[in-house]
Structure formats: structure tokens, C-alpha cells
């Protein structure tokens, strides 16, 4: 060793080693550095020996972690020394102390270059090593051609060429733009003919880097690679020193196969055949042996071969062979091999058609799930997750659930998440999904993230069929002795929402449900108490008729929590208490939760996020995309817009209308709720022309009331055209040409907006239109929020208002384009001239890419927006009521087919329509009196009075009397209230969800024809 004979250095090192503590060491180092500085500064200069010694010392001090910021000059100058020992020190110290950014290196470039192009091969090696270790840009610029020359020169020994290849590789990796590799494909091909395996291995590394950048240029190398592979694996033509445990140079094999994977495919049939032959040989010839090193080497080759097979998309036979091999691996005892087997199987999933073959090993994989080694368990879980599809979902999820109770804590969260996702994605039916999730919560409550139970609640809310089942299940779980808090949350929520659906079952009366939930209250944490409070409030709301005892119990709880320290609990307690005192208001606020907007499962998103880092997950993701079609969507209420779907409502609606009307007339009996499902077989074809006629026909808003029950169907539909036509006219008519489908039902959104002042009017994948309105007397101010959801701008945006005659509308300028992810606001001024139920339409269109989207949207500037609730006392009411005597100022009508609802609910509905319910004016508790003020420019403020008489025995019919100082207003208000009372929510009852742009507005749909009122006296008699 070069150190021998350097006494000063060894003394210094032993001094350092003898230091008792860091402090002493520092002192010694500082002293030595001072000494070195003095020596370097000495005028007399240093002998080469001394220089060498001090530079070694500097290196040692540098390695100890101290800053050495001088003496580089000496180190660099040693590079140009003529003798090997000094040169070696110079190279080593320079490559340690300096990095590519040091200006000092420039001084060395020339010397290094001289060494590289010199004749001495040891010096060449030293120089190449230095360049490889710190080769920065400048080195690459000035030395790359020389290194390239060395690599292909025939006069050099393999030793030098090996180093040259690696040096070039490093320079290329660092600065691919500087190293000129144009026309190198031929040279690389030549290099691959090399007999010396060392040079070949180095060149192959270089090739991998080159090919990864640009595989096109190196097609010529492909056959050579295959030939190399053949030489190694088939002919075993390898010198003794390059075999490792009998395997011919596994490193070169791996590298060659890696290089081959960068080529998209192997086209030449001969090459392909011989490549497959080699791969076949590798696949066949690999087995598990005792020797660990041999195993490692052979498996490295094997797995690379597997990767190559997958890449080349080999024929099925070979794939199945691979899977069989992997299957053998995953049953081996050696954990490393089993791990690799599982991991590669997960990777194999990328190749679609092997999935079935993999499924054969399902049992073995499930066994691996119980392996003592957690990393193997994780791999097995990943694999199970990846291979799951509709066919085996039930088995796998059940297996996961079973395993969950014994699984390691570290894995439970992942396990439960994956089980939840699989259950969601591949659920054969929804009740199974609910079962699985509830079981999951039951078994691994602590590890079930909130997302999972939120998701199940979303499902249940959005699927009405599921609600009673879920409520029943939740009730069953509550019977268990000790249940997890998450289970309390889910059960409480579900029972609060849908507990009333169970009312007839034993043990499910509101009181019983309440008491069983209330049992859990003392054991839960503060985050759950608010949910329980909401549940109590809902139970209270659903208990009809009110149960005094239950009420007082719940009120006691509310008042207890009114002073709770937690703000959330306190607020809920106070609000629920106050609301439940009010009775009617409670109904409105606590009514059933609306459906959740459809969105990507947060679980799946979470899983995707978590998986983003591991490479093999790409396979799973790929499969997830393929299977997205059979994934279960929460509120997939968007059926295909085929003609049938569009026609269906029409077919259904009109006959049923006439059906209602006829049955009303003929029997005067109650009819099935909404009667939408009843399709009259007699009239299957009539509606279509009617529809057209209606569309073209004049508006008959102020047409006279119907004439009689004997009216023929044809006439009936004509008459009702007044109610329908406007709705028809405003419905979006482009739905068939439209390729971009709106998200969620537009009609439903519109209906919601009629009741409230802000919300979303329209949404599709590109745009969302929100609305916010303020109403003051007959003025209104709407603001449209046009939000671009995309990363690309929306162009040719146009918004046109088509106002009805009674509204003056002014829309401010809408910008032509909406920038990406931006929202623009467009204020819209509305002025109401006279009472009318006609609707304004917003014709909205935009262009996204090549799609032109045109939507006709109804604006929620509806009749009731111009109402202002007003309370009138008995003294004001009765004179007014009496003074407005008889038609046309006071109109009376018996309405049938009313949505059955309790009186309180009706009161809520009235309040939400801005009609003030005045209790106590009518002595009869079955009657309802309401008052409001209508504002328009023509009528100014006009008091309107409404009286509803209901029949407790038959809630589907009622008598309505409306009075105001303006005949038109009276009529319009009466019709409006009637529409609201008989309204039937379309999508929930339809077997197939109705397409949102229903050509006939659902609002206008169930209007009872005016003809029905022909004989109020007789009807009243029937009513009483």
C-alpha cells in the first residue's frame, strides 16, 4: 500500500484514533491543518514525497468530516506528476475533495486529457475513473470524444475499454445533450460483437442508457442483444471467470433483457423466435435450489425474463407457463422467493388474459395472506386486490373480512380500505355491499376510516330500495353488546334517516329505536354525539302522531346538551330543541337528506393516491380502468339518451293523465299516487301528435276552466296545453345531439332552485352554472356563476335570455371565453310586470374543443319568488275574505290526486313557497289558512288569501279557495299551488330513471285538469 513508509501520516492517524473525545480530535486536526498550511506555504517548496503525505492527510481529515478548503492546488498538481504513486494520490484526492462545480477542476482538464490520450494504460484508467466520478459538463464537452475514441479503439486493452464505456455512460447520463451519440448505433452494434464479457457488460449498460432515450436509432442492436442472450443462456459460451454459481454472467443477461425491454416489440420473426427460445429456456431452466447466491442470481435473471415476456406480450402459452412458474414460487417456503412470486404476479395482472390463470392460484394467495412475514402479506393483499373482479369479488372480500379479525394491526387499515373498495366496485347487489361494510366496521372499527362509512351512507341515501334493508341491518347491529363507535355513527345516522321505514316491524318503533341508540350515548366520544342528536331530532320528527313521552325524553337530552362545552354539540342541541318546539319547521329542516351528487368514490381516490408510488400498482390501475365499466356508480341516474328513453315519459304521461282524469270523472275515487306507472293500453299512440300540437299551439294561459267530465281525451290534452306548453317550450331540446351530458337531473335542480335562492342550475363535465338570487318586491337580481371546471378555456360562450311576456329581464354581458378553472359572474336584473306562471329560459351554449354544447335552461324566476309572506290577524283576514266574494276574485277548486301528506308537512310546503300559514284563523284543525303578498309592477302589492280544507279520511283530495284583488292573480296563484300540491317526484318512482331534460316539465305534469272542478257542490258532498 502506498501508505507504507509514510510515518508522519500513520502517526497522525494513530493520534486521531487515540483521541478520547471529539474535542481532542478537533484540536489535533486543527493543529495538523495549521501544520499543513505552513508546509504548503513554505517558500522552499515540497518534495514530491511530502506533498503526497500532506495531501493524504488532507484526504483523511476530509473523510473525518472537517472542512478542508485549501490545498486543492497541490492535489491537482500531483495529477501531472510523472510517477504512479503521486498521480494516484492526485486523482483520488481530487475526485474526493472537488465536485463538478468547482472552478479548480478546469486546471485539471488538460492533464486528465493528456492521460487519456496517452499511451500508459494505468494512467488512462485513473483518468477515466476521475472523469466518471466527477465528470461535469465541462469535462463532458472536452473529453467525451476522446473517451468515445478509446471505447472503440482496437488497440486498447479490454480493461481500458471497459472503463471508457462506463465513463461514457456516466457522462451521457449526466449531460445527454453534450455527448454526441449521433451515428453511434453502428458502433454500439460493433461493440456488442465484442468477445470480452467485461467490455460487453459495460457496453450493455451504456446501451441501456442510450436506448432508454431513443430506441429508434438502435434497432440494429436488437438482434445483437438477442444473439448475446443466446450466447449466454443457450450456448453457455462464457469463460470460467464470468460464470457465477454455474450461471453464465447473470449481470449481462439481466442488462441485455433490460435493454430489450426498451424496444417496443421484436418484429423480425427469426429474432423473435430465437428470443422466445432463450426465454423459454430461462423459464424452464430456473428452479429453486439450496444455495442462496445461486438462487439470487438465477431469479434475478428469471424475473427480468418475466418482465421481458410481459413486455413482449408473448403468446398465451408462454404466459401461462410464467404464471405456473410463479405459482410454484408462491408456494415455496423461502420467503424471498414467495415475495418475488407474489410481486411479479401482481405485475402480470397487467397482461389481461392471464387473469384467469392467476385465479387458479387464488387459494395459495389467500394462504400467503396468513404468512408470518408482513411484507408477504402486503404483497398478497395487493395481489388479491388487483385480481379481484366481479366473478371472485364475493369470495375475496369475504376472505379479507375473515382475515381482518386476525390480521396484524399494521395492515388492518389498508385491508379494510381495500375490502371496502372491492365491495364497492364489484358488488353484485347493493345489500351485499351494505352487509360487507357493516361487517367491516363491526370487525375492524378502529381501522375503518370515515370515508368508508360516509360512502355507505351515500349509497343508502341514493338508493331508495336499499334504505329499509340498511335500516334493518343497522338495527340488528345495535342489538349487539359492545359495538364500535363508527358502527354507532352509521347505525344512528341510518336509523335517523330511515328508521321510520321499519316502523311496523317488532322492536322498531321510534321509541325502541330511540332507547337502543340512547343506550350508546354515554360510551361515545364528542364527535359522535352530534350525530346522535340529529338522529333524535329525526326520530322526533318522524314520530307521528307525536309521542309525548318520547318528546319529553328527547327534549330533556337536548336541554342537557344545551350547555355542553363542545360548540358543535351545543349548537345542535339548542337548535334542535328550538326547532322541535316549533313543530312544523322541524319537518322542513329535518326532512330526508337529498341525494348526494354523484362523484368519484373518495375511497378509490384515496387508494389511488396511496398507490401512486409503487411501480407494480400501475397494473392495478390499468385494470381498474378496464373495469370501470362494471364498477358500481352511486347515483348513476344517467341512462343512455336513446330515443326510447326520451319518448318514454311522453308515452307514460299522457295516457296516465287521461287515466287520472277519467277515473276522477267516472269514479270520483282516489287514485294511485301519481299514477305515473300506469300505462293505459288503449292510448299508446295518441300522445305524439298531441305533443306536437301542444308545442305549436297558442298559449292558453287564461283559458276558461274545463267544461265537463265527459270531455274526450283529445280535448283534454288540448286543454291542458296551457299548463304544458310553456314547460315544453323551455325544456332543452338538444339532448339527442348533445354529446356532453349534464350531471344530475336539470329538472330536479330547477325544482330545488324554485324553493331556495342559491344553488347549482346546471352542471356537466366542463361547466357548472350556479345561481344566486335576491328578491325584493317585484324586483329580482340573479347572479349566474359560470365556472369552468377544466384546465382548458371554454370558448364561444353565449347566454341568451328568452323572457316571458310578464318579466323584464336584463342580462349583463357574458364573456366570450371562460379561462380554465375560472368562474365568471353575470348579474341578471328581473322585473315582474304582472302575475303569470310562465318561465324564463336561458339559452346557454359554449364550445369545448370540438364539442358545441347548447343547453336551454329554465330560470328559477318563478311565481312564488314574487311573493312575500305576511301575517294577518283574524280582524284583517275575515273582512278581506268576505269582501272578495266569488269568481273571478275568489276561486274555489277541489283538487284530487294530491300527494298525501300530513297537514304539518303541507304547512311546511306553503312556507317554503312563501305563503304564510296563519294558524288559528280556521277553527277546523284540518283546514289551513295562508296569506301572502304578491308584487308586480301591474298589481303593486296585492294581498292573497288561501284556504285549504282537507279531509282527514282521504288525504289525496282537498278543497282549495284562493282570493286576491286581481282575477289573473287569483287564477295563477291557484294553479301554482295546485301544481305544487300534486307534484310527484319523477325520478324516484320511475323504474328507469327519467332523463333530466324531460320534454315535459315535471312541474306541469300532474296538473289536474280544470275540468274536474265542474261541479264543486257534488264533489264537496262526496268529500264530506
Amino acid at each position: 500500500m502506498a501508505l507504507s513508509g509514510m510515518r508522519g501520516l500513520s502517526v497522525f492517524i494513530s493520534d486521531i484514533r487515540n483521541c478520547q473525545n471529539k474535542e481532542q480530535e478537533r484540536l489535533r486536526v486543527d493543529k495538523e491543518l495549521g501544520n499543513i498550511r505552513t508546509r504548503f506555504k513554505n517558500e522552499k517548496g515540497l518534495t514530491p514525497y511530502e506533498k503526497k503525505k500532506y495531501v493524504w492527510k488532507m484526504l483523511y481529515i476530509h473523510m473525518l468530516g472537517y472542512d478542508v478548503d485549501f490545498g486543492h492546488m497541490e492535489a491537482v498538481s500531483l495529477i501531472s506528476a510523472p510517477k504512479y504513486p503521486e498521480k494516484q494520490v492526485g486523482y483520488i484526492v481530487t475526485s474526493c475533495l472537488l465536485n463538478e462545480n468547482h472552478d479548480f477542476l478546469r486546471l485539471a482538464i488538460n492533464t486528465v486529457r493528456n492521460d487519456i490520450i496517452g499511451r500508459n494504460e494505468t494512467f488512462q484508467c485513473l483518468a477515466l475513473t476521475l472523469v466518471g466520478n466527477i465528470g461535469g459538463r465541462e469535462f463532458a464537452e472536452s473529453l467525451a470524444p476522446d473517451v468515445q475514441k478509446l471505447l472503440i479503439s482496437s488497440s486498447c486493452r479490454p480493461l481500458v475499454r471497459k472503463k471508457a464505456a462506463l465513463c461514457l455512460l456516466r457522462l451521457y447520463r449526466k449531460n445527454p445533450d453534450v455527448v454526441n451519440v449521433d451515428g453511434w448505433s453502428d458502433r454500439m452494434a460493433q461493440l456488442l460483437d465484442e468477445r470480452d464479457l467485461g467490455v460487453l457488460t459495460s457496453s450493455m449498460s451504456l446501451l441501456v442508457a442510450l436506448v432508454s432515450n431513443n430506441h429508434e436509432a438502435y434497432w440494429s442492436c436488437l438482434p445483437k442483444c438477442v444473439k448475446t442472450l443466446e450466447r449466454l443462456a443457450k450456448n453457455q459460451d462464457v469463460p470460467q471467470e464470468y460464470t457465477y454459481y454455474g450461471i453464465p454472467s447473470p449481470w449481462l443477461q439481466v442488462k441485455t433483457m433490460r435493454a430489450l425491454q426498451y424496444f417496443p416489440t421484436v418484429e423480425d420473426p427469426n429474432t423473435r423466435r430465437s428470443l422466445f427460445e432463450v426465454l423459454q429456456r430461462i423459464l424452464m431452466g430456473t428452479d429453486v435450489v439450496k444455495n442462496v447466491n445461486k438462487n439470487n442470481a438465477s431469479h434475478a435473471v428469471l424475473f427480468e425474463a418475466l418482465a421481458l415476456v410481459m413486455h413482449l406480450d408473448a403468446e398465451k402459452e408462454m404466459m401461462s407457463q410464467c404464471v405456473a412458474l410463479l405459482g410454484k414460487f408462491i408456494s415455496v417456503r423461502e420467503p424471498n422467493i414467495r415475495y418475488l412470486g407474489l410481486e411479479n404476479m401482481t405485475r402480470m395482472l397487467m397482461v389481461t388474459d392471464v387473469q384467469d390463470i392467476i385465479k387458479r392460484h387464488q387459494a395459495q394467495i389467500i394462504t400467503s395472506l396468513k404468512d408470518p412475514d408482513i411484507s408477504i402479506r402486503r404483497r398478497a393483499l395487493d395481489l388479491l386486490y388487483g385480481m379481484c373482479d366481479v366473478s371472485n369479488a364475493k369470495d375475496i372480500v369475504e376472505e379479507l373480512l375473515q382475515y381482518l379479525s386476525t390480521a396484524d394491526f399494521a395492515m388492518r387499515e389498508e385491508l379494510s380500505l381495500k375490502a371496502a373498495i372491492l365491495a364497492e366496485k364489484f358488488a353484485p347487489d347493493l345489500s351485499w355491499y351494505v352487509d360487507v361494510i357493516l361487517q367491516l366496521i363491526d370487525k375492524a372499527g378502529d381501522f375503518v376510516s370515515d370515508d368508508i362509512w360516509f360512502r355507505v351512507v351515500q349509497f343508502v341515501t341514493n338508493n331508495e330500495d336499499l334504505q329499509p334493508y340498511a335500516a334493518l341491518k343497522a338495527r340488528e347491529y345495535l342489538d349487539k353488546h359492545a359495538i364500535h363507535e363508527t358502527m354507532v355513527k352509521v347505525s344512528a345516522y341510518i336509523l335517523g334517516e330511515y328508521g321510520h321505514l321499519l316502523a311496523r316491524r317488532p322492536g322498531c318503533s321510534p321509541k325502541e329505536i330511540f332507547s337502543i341508540i340512547h343506550e350508546k350515548l354515554p360510551t361515545v366520544s364528542t364527535s359522535t354525539i352530534p350525530i346522535l342528536l340529529s338522529t333524535y331530532a329525526k326520530i322526533l320528527m318522524h314520530t307521528q302522531p307525536p309521542d309525548k313521552e318520547l318528546q319529553s325524553q328527547i327534549w330533556a337530552i337536548f336541554s342537557k346538551y344545551e350547555s355542553c362545552i363542545d360548540a358543535e354539540i351545543q349548537q345542535r342541541a339548542v337548535e334542535y330543541h328550538a326547532l322541535s318546539m316549533k313543530g312544523a319547521t322541524l319537518m322542513d329542516i329535518l326532512s330526508e337528506m337529498p341525494k348526494f351528487p354523484e362523484r368519484q368514490s373518495s375511497l378509490i381516490r384515496k387508494a389511488e393516491d396511496a398507490e401512486a408510488d409503487t411501480a407494480e400498482q400501475s397494473a392495478i390501475k390499468l385494470r381498474a380502468q378496464q373495469q370501470a365499466s362494471n364498477a358500481l356508480m352511486v347515483t348513476d341516474q344517467r341512462p343512455a339518451y336513446d330515443t326510447q328513453a326520451v319518448n318514454q315519459p311522453g308515452l307514460v304521461k299522457l295516457p296516465s293523465m287521461s287515466n287520472v282524469e277519467r277515473s276522477n270523472a267516472e269514479q270520483g275515487a282516489t287514485h294511485a299516487n301519481g299514477a305515473l306507472t300506469v300505462i293505459d293500453p288503449q292510448l299508446p299512440s295518441t300522445p305524439s301528435p298531441d305533443l306536437l300540437g301542444d308545442l305549436l299551439g297558442p298559449l292558453a294561459i287564461e283559458g276558461p276552466p274545463g267544461t265537463g267530465p265527459q270531455i274526450e281525451p283529445r280535448l283534454a290534452s288540448d286543454l291542458e296545453s296551457g299548463a304544458n306548453a310553456d314547460a315544453l317550450a323551455i325544456a332543452p331540446v338538444e339532448e339527442q345531439t348533445q354529446t356532453i351530458q349534464p350531471i344530475c337531473n336539470i329538472a330536479e335542480r330547477f325544482r330545488a332552485l324554485c324553493m331556495k335562492d342559491s344553488g347549482v342550475l346546471y352542471e356537466d363535465p366542463y361547466i357548472q352554472i350556479g345561481i344566486k338570487a335576491e328578491w325584493r318586491a317585484h324586483h329580482g337580481r340573479l347572479v349566474l356563476f359560470l365556472g369552468n371546471k377544466n384546465t382548458a378555456p371554454l370558448s364561444s360562450v353565449q347566454a341568451l335570455i328568452l323572457p316571458p311576456s310578464h318579466l323584464n329581464m336584463e342580462l349583463s354581458l357574458v364573456p366570450e371565453t371562460i379561462p380554465p378553472r375560472a368562474q365568471v359572474q353575470c348579474p341578471l336584473e328581473v322585473l315582474n310586470l304582472k302575475p303569470s306562471r310562465d318561465l324564463a329560459v336561458l339559452d346557454f351554449s359554449y364550445k369545448f374543443g370540438t364539442h358545441v354544447v347548447d343547453a336551454k335552461l329554465r330560470l328559477p324566476a318563478v311565481f312564488n319568488k314574487f311573493l312575500q309572506p305576511i301575517t294577518v290577524s283574524a280582524e284583517e283576514f275575515f273582512p278581506q275574505w268576505r269582501s272578495l266574494s266569488g269568481p273571478p276574485l275568489k276561486l274555489q277548486e277541489v283538487v284530487r290526486g294530491v300527494r298525501p301528506m300530513p297537514l304539518s308537512e303541507m304547512a311546511n310546503l306553503f312556507i317554503s313557497l312563501r305563503l304564510m300559514v296563519c294558524p288559528g284563523l280556521d277553527p277546523n284543525t284540518n283546514n289551513l289558512v295562508a296569506s301572502t303578498t304578491f308584487y308586480s309592477e301591474g298589481t303593486r302589492a296585492m294581498l292573497c288569501l288561501v284556504r285549504i280544507e282537507t279531509d282527514p279520511a282521504d288525504r289525496t283530495q282537498l278543497r282549495m279557495t284562493v282570493a286576491s284583488g286581481d282575477p289573473t292573480l287569483t287564477f295563477e296563484l291557484k294553479e301554482f299551488i295546485k301544481e305544487q300540491l300534486v307534484y310527484i317526484p319523477v325520478p324516484s318512482t320511475a323504474p328507469n330513471p327519467v332523463p333530466p331534460p324531460n320534454p315535459i316539465s315535471p312541474q306541469a305534469l300532474p296538473t289536474s285538469p280544470p275540468t274536474a272542478v265542474s261541479d264543486p257542490g257534488a264533489l264537496l258532498a262526496g268529500l264530506l
Binding site: 473525545n21 474535542e23 491543518l33 501544520n35 498550511r37 505552513t38 506555504k41 478548503d69 485549501f70
Partner: protein, 438 residues
């Protein structure tokens, strides 16, 4: 009284625990590992003596080659803890015969454990007075108090000692020759700007006594301090003597000083403990006589050369002299070569502390030796940071000189038997942190 310690550790410089004692179980036994990892092995060591790691506070102090670490987990009195450490070290030193270092600890494990048991109880400091502890913890540290019953010497009544009127002195002492030694030791702290103006200057002084007196003597000390002199002239109704009077700040006394008499008569009278003790401490901020003036000129000539000229002027009396004067002139880290010319003493470059060290063994008063040095720097690859120019530091000792000008006017000894005593008085001034910016 607040807690002072939950545990005490003695570590060597490598961080190995030499000895430790847990007084409370609110800190884990492995907390010292945290100290080792987070303090000792980082650059934090020496920056702040109080550090908090993971809910525990560490108070540490280095004494020779031992770190003494106190760990507490509650709100402790830090000053009390440090005082305790200092006192404990004094105690150990008096037991070990002067030295306190790693070897002394290794050689006296048993004794130290015994002492540690005695000087602190459940985190509360107890009696740390060597005189009293020596009564029942024998110097060898091998005999327990119980086995000492068999010894010839009767067991002294330690309780009486602790609770008695004169707890610090044993009765019945007899010396053939009655002697009193009194030392006034002052250390000067100075920070001076390069232009020669004083930025900060104060003197901390202490009066150390060593008494070898028989019986129960009563001593009275007179100094030329302002309050004492004024009171005296008041009492004796005669004008105060002309001459310099000194104003003492922050005076603290040993417990033996009779404070009531000090308050009424402003005289320091006391019954001294036997042997060595520190009678009082004080601080002076005004009217300080600086023993040395330093006039530095340091010129940086280009990137690699510096010229240093330092003139040190002694301003005390010509008959006096200073001993062990060391002037440390900082130079940049990349100093490579130095050459000196000094008019007295010797100078050399010490690369470990990056200073030129100029030593003058004997420095007579009213002289001004100079040093001129040429410093050559080596060039480095890192961008040359402008040198921060740390201050010049000085060390010295000037016997028979007080920077404050404090003098002992009298030291009277009364004893029943009325024996004659011999009083010895010494003065010495040392450098504290004596720094001159350059």
C-alpha cells in the same frame, strides 16, 4: 422550596456516565442518552447551559473533564441547581484533596454515593458544608457512620452542629499558633473598542479567608468601602478620612457574618468557620483601575497577508508586576505562516484556537512591550468570507493590586482567652473576560 434536581449525572467528555444518582423517579434512567445525543454530540454544547429535550430540562456544567448534568422534569429553580452543583464540587474537592476530575471520581465512587445521598434529598438540596459533612462522613469514605462508633473519636453531635447557634464552627478548637489569612481576589471584566473607549467594565471580587484560631473568636473586618466609612464617621462624629472610598454593589456574605450588626453598624463582624471559606463577594462597576491598556493595529494586506501590531501598556505601579500575562490575538482560519518580533516574552501561532499567543511571564508596571507579526494566509477554494475580527483576549494576574482600589483597613480578633493572633492580608487581581476589539 423549589426542586433543584430529579437526577444528577457525572459524565466524562465522551459522554459515558461515570456516576449518577436518581433523586426522583419522574425522569427515566435513559434521559442521559438524550443529553448525549442531542447536546454533547452536537455543536450546541457550550452554547447554553440549560436545554430542554422531550419534556425534561438539562442543566449542565463542565468542570475540568467532567460534565455534571442535572435533569429535572418539573419547574425547577435553575439558579439553585447550579449553585448546588458548584457547592457539591467544592465539597468533593475538599474531600478529594483539591482535584476534581474523571480520575478522582473513579477513585471515590463509594464516597461520592455517600455524599450524594447526604447533600440532596428527593431533589431538595441539603447541607453542603464540608465542615459539617466531614463530621459524620469520614474522609476515606469507607466507614459508615454506624461503624464509626467503634472508633476512638466520640461521635460529634452533628444535629447540634446543624441546628445550633454557631452551626459552622466546632467548639473546643485549639491551635498553638493563631493565624488568620485574608485574600482579596478580584477579576476584571472588560470589553474595549478598537478606539480605546470602554464599552463594558466591571470587577467581581471575593474575600477568601483561612482561619486557624482557637476557641470561639469574634472577628471584625474594616474595608475602605463607602458605606462602612460613612457610618463609622457618623458614629465617631468625626469627618471621614480623605482618600478613596469604594462603592460596593451586590455584596453577599458567608452565613457566619452577623447581618444585624452589618445592618445597624455597617461593620462586617463574624465568628469564622474553621479553615477555608469565602467571607464575602461583591461587584464594582465604577472607578475601576484597568491594569492594562492594549493598542492593536491589524492590517490586511491583500488576500494572503496580514500585519499585526499590538502594544500592551501596564498602568499599575512601577514596583508591581503582573504574572502569567497571555495575549491572544485572533487570526483568520487559513493562517499558514507567521513571523514575530516581540520586545519581551514569547509569541507563537496556535492553530487549534486560531490565535497568535503572546506570553509574558513577568510584566513590570509602567512598561509597554510590543508585538509585531506578519501573517501569511493560504488561498482557499471557497469564496473568502470577510474575516469577522474577533476581539483580542488577555489573561493575567497582578498581585498586590486591586482593580477596585479596595483595601483592608483593619481585621480585629477578640477571644475570651485574649490570645495574640497573626493576620495575613493579600491582594490579587486576575483577568476575567478581558477583551479588546481590534
Amino acid at each position: 422550596m423549589p426542586v433543584a434536581a430529579s437526577a444528577i449525572y457525572f459524565l466524562n467528555l465522551r459522554g459515558d456516565v461515570l456516576i449518577n444518582r436518581l433523586y426522583r423517579d419522574d425522569v427515566g434512567g435513559n434521559m442521559v442518552d438524550a443529553f448525549r445525543v442531542h447536546i454533547m454530540q452536537t455543536k450546541e454544547l457550550g452554547t447554553c447551559p440549560v436545554r430542554q429535550i422531550g419534556g425534561c430540562s438539562f442543566f449542565y456544567m463542565r468542570i475540568s473533564n467532567v460534565y455534571i448534568v442535572i435533569v429535572v422534569s418539573s419547574n425547577a429553580n435553575v439558579a439553585c441547581a447550579f449553585k448546588f452543583v458548584v457547592e457539591a464540587v467544592t465539597l468533593f474537592k475538599s474531600y478529594f484533596g483539591g482535584a476534581f476530575d474523571e480520575d478522582a471520581i473513579r477513585n471515590n465512587f463509594v464516597l461520592i454515593y455517600e455524599l450524594l445521598d447526604e447533600i440532596m434529598d428527593f431533589g431538595y438540596p441539603q447541607n453542603l458544608s464540608p465542615e459539617i459533612l466531614k463530621l459524620y462522613i469520614t474522609q476515606e469514605g469507607v466507614r459508615s457512620p454506624f461503624s464509626s462508633k467503634a472508633a476512638d473519636k466520640p461521635v460529634p453531635n452533628a444535629t447540634l452542629q446543624v441546628t445550633g447557634a454557631v452551626g459552622w464552627r466546632r467548639e473546643g478548637l485549639v491551635y498553638k499558633k493563631n493565624e488568620v489569612f485574608l485574600d482579596i481576589v478580584e477579576s476584571v471584566n472588560l470589553l474595549m473598542s478598537s478606539k480605546g473607549s470602554v464599552l463594558r467594565c466591571d470587577v467581581t471580587g471575593k474575600i477568601l479567608m483561612k482561619c486557624f484560631l482557637s476557641g470561639m473568636p469574634d472577628l471584625k473586618l474594616g474595608l475602605n468601602d463607602k458605606i462602612g466609612l460613612e457610618k463609622e464617621s457618623q458614629l465617631k462624629s468625626r469627618p471621614a478620612k480623605s482618600g478613596k472610598t469604594i462603592e460596593l454593589d451586590d455584596v453577599t456574605f458567608h452565613q457566619c457574618v452577623n447581618l444585624t450588626r452589618f445592618n445597624s453598624e455597617k461593620t462586617v463582624s463574624f465568628v469564622p468557620p474553621d479553615g477555608e471559606f469565602e467571607l464575602m463577594k461583591y461587584r464594582i462597576t465604577e472607578g475601576v483601575n484597568l491594569p492594562f491598556r492594549v493598542l492593536p493595529t491589524i492590517k490586511e494586506l491583500g488576500r494572503t497577508r496580514m500585519e499585526v501590531n499590538v502594544k500592551v501598556k501596564s498602568v499599575f505601579g512601577a514596583k508591581m508586576f503582573a504574572l502569567g500575562v497571555v495575549v491572544k490575538i485572533p487570526v483568520p482560519k487559513q493562517t499558514a505562516k507567521t513571523s514575530f518580533q516581540v520586545t519581551s516574552g514569547r509569541a507563537k501561532y496556535n492553530p487549534s484556537i486560531d490565535c497568535l499567543v503572546w506570553k509574558i511571564r513577568k510584566f513590570p508596571g509602567q512598561t509597554e512591550p510590543t508585538l509585531s507579526a506578519e501573517v501569511e494566509l493560504i488561498s482557499t477554494i471557497t469564496e473568502k468570507k470577510s474575516w469577522t475580527r474577533p476581539p483580542i483576549q488577555m489573561e493575567f494576574q497582578v498581585p498586590m493590586f486591586t482593580a477596585s482600589g479596595l483595601r483592608v483597613r483593619f481585621l480585629k480578633v477578640w477571644e475570651k482567652s485574649g490570645y495574640n493572633t497573626v493576620e495575613w492580608v493579600r491582594y490579587i487581581t486576575k483577568a476575567g473576560s478581558y477583551e479588546i476589539r481590534c
